[in-house]
Symmetry: C2
Subunit: 183 residues, 2 copies
């Protein structure tokens, strides 16, 4: 149930609509969090009833009312308390790609190689994204908003993403070599 904190986190940077939060989420956070609009809108409403954010509706023609959300002092408090609380255990993760590889001992080499090569391509694409687009978005956002301290944190997280994808790519390349040499 950390989506609440992701939403509060973005609203802590600036007031914005659910739609804008979604765009930010897709651009910068997809390494470690994601959500659809269908989940974001009701969660924002819930945060509103809890007094952690306020909403201001603006009429538009042809489109639904634009609801701009702003974090309240209570919301800031809740967010900061959560951010400062040290992680007490590693959040267990799930990865269907690794699950497939882990159990593919009973497949033929060719099928395993197809799987590994597909995953390698996906990981390479993701690596290029962290090196390029994600990096640029951070730079531009810092330039546009002056949030240098926040920018340092964003850049740190991006670097981990890049390192992880690079480890993935190198590992998959080695794995392909190894499986090729299997009888």
């Amino acid at each position: 149930m950390s989506l609440r904190y992701a939403l509060l986190g973005f609203l802590g940077l600036d007031s914005m609509t659910g739609y804008e939060i979604k765009k930010n989420l897709d651009q910068s956070t997809q390494l470690f969090w994601h959500a659809g609009l269908n989940q974001i809108y009701p969660t924002l409403k819930k945060l509103e009833t809890e007094g952690l954010v306020t909403a201001e509706a603006e009429s538009q023609d042809g489109k639904p009312d634009k609801r701009t959300y702003t974090i309240t002092p209570a919301g800031s408090e809740v967010l900061h308390a959560w951010l400062a609380e040290p992680l007490s255990f590693l959040p267990p993760s799930k990865n269907a790609g690794l699950l497939k590889i882990f159990f593919s001992g009973s497949l033929e080499n060719a099928a395993v190689l197809r799987q590994l090569e597909t995953q390698l391509e996906l990981r390479r694409k993701q690596l290029r994204r962290y090196e390029g687009e994600t990096r640029q978005v951070i730079e531009e956002t810092v330039a546009a908003t002056g949030l240098t301290r926040e920018g340092t944190m964003w850049e740190l997280v991006r670097e981990l993403g890049e390192a992880h994808e690079r480890a993935y790519v190198e590992w998959l390349e080695r794995a392909i070599e190894k499986v090729r040499q299997l009888p």
Copy 2:
């Protein structure tokens, strides 16, 4: 919905009970999948009604009946079809630890450092686990069962786990240095 495949994967190696699957899951798969017994037991029953596994109950005194599950030919087919199907997109992952760091630009240095140091300790522990215990379990299992081809796959996945944790540890060390130098 990959728990089904994780269960079928283990039963593809050997017939066993839900309790034993859980032990195997905890020892080897926690890098990429996890589940509680409360989820495993009903899912096995469901697989049984679908004809993908069969169960043999054995009475025990003082304990509930021991239900040993065996994969059926239909189950093997379903498993292999899933394993051979190449991943079509990167499964999006969630990581509350990174979420905290990403948004901690508004925290004081001391609070950020507490967070980073706690996470570093957890990651170091996990790295040691992959290097030691996990490696040993794989070696012993291969020695006991003769599943060398499967063992190659397990060892590959373990190596990625180790590489990822190492990347985490090195990154957190660098991050701590960087945050210490922040004004």
